[in-house]
């Protein structure tokens, strides 16, 4: 299981929407939205449409797993 905690603020609404549309588990968790995946959790920046300051802060809520990459195009977390 890979888990990403996304701070529940308007700046991250699009990221949560894309995670939901992708089929990842979404659960409200206090101040955070818990996004879960069986295996890799991958989000494409094009789909999220976030400006740089928001995109590159996407992991600020923390995660459980391993960061594979967070670059200009994609965020990828995996188990481990």
């Amino acid at each position: 299981m890979t888990t990403l905690y996304v701070l529940d603020i308007p700046e991250f609404d699009d990221l949560v929407r894309v995670a939901r549309d992708t089929g990842y588990g979404i659960r409200s968790a206090g101040d955070y939205v818990e996004v879960t995946a069986d295996g890799p959790l991958v989000l494409a920046r094009d789909a999220v449409g976030a400006r740089p300051a928001i995109w590159f802060a996407a992991l600020t809520g923390g995660y459980s797993g391993r960061l594979v990459h967070l670059d200009e195009d994609e965020l990828c977390l995996d188990e481990g």
Binding site: Y5, E11, A29, Y32, A53, T60, G61, G62
Partner: protein
């Protein structure tokens, strides 16, 4: 030695409250350019100047210490030291990091300041939208980076609670030998999970009542 409190948790200061910035002080080797820039370009009133021999310590140089009013009781001050050799410029990262951000309320004001700075020959960046702020960046004649910024939204309670967890995560991992941002995010994930469990428990308790 007193115990270090958890990150972000304030010590009880009783009725003691600090009330904003009285002044922030820098050193200048360019008094004329500094006066022109802050008074005539940024429009900050020059409100005070001290001139003195170097009485503070044995090797303290003779100096002029002058103050510009930033509004709301805040001031920006400069020291000019007689006979002090000019220091080398800081590296790029320190130059960008040690900056002073001045506040405006609206996008229109931010745009108007950019126009004014350009009219006075100041090299200024286009507006850059951060998380909660949108900012212009430029240098004063001393090479000190300045920012004019406007809020994109106000800080909310959720931001403060999240900041507590971030600083707790950072404090926990910064004690390690070579802390990385990944270490911090994984620790933050543990703290966020704990927070989520506490929130769920509180919700369940409330629903039982």
């Amino acid at each position: 030695m007193s115990q270090i409190p958890a990150a972000g948790a304030p010590l009880d200061t009783g009725s003691l409250r600090l009330k904003g910035v009285d002044h922030l002080a820098h050193v200048t080797w360019k008094p004329e350019e500094t006066l022109h820039f802050y008074r005539d370009v940024l429009g900050l009133p020059l409100v005070h100047a001290i001139t003195a021999t170097g009485w503070v310590t044995e090797d303290f140089p003779d100096f002029v210490h002058f103050f510009f009013a930033l509004g709301k009781g805040n001031h920006l001050a400069f020291f000019y030291y007689f006979g002090l050799p000019e220091e080398e410029d800081p590296g790029d990262l320190m130059h960008r990091s040690r900056h002073l951000a001045l506040h405006v309320d609206t996008e229109e004001e931010l745009t108007a300041w950019r126009v004014r700075l350009k009219e006075h020959g100041v090299r200024v960046t286009p507006p850059l939208a951060h998380e909660l702020l949108e900012s212009l960046y430029f240098d004063d004649p001393n090479g000190i980076q300045l920012e004019i910024t406007r809020p994109l939204r106000a800080f909310a309670d959720v931001d403060a609670r999240d900041a507590e967890l971030t600083l707790r995560a950072l404090s926990d991992i910064a004690k390690g030998e070579r802390p990385t941002v990944e270490d911090m995010w994984r620790r933050k994930g543990e703290l966020a999970r704990d927070h989520a469990e506490q929130a769920a428990a509180a919700e369940e308790k409330a629903s039982i009542r």
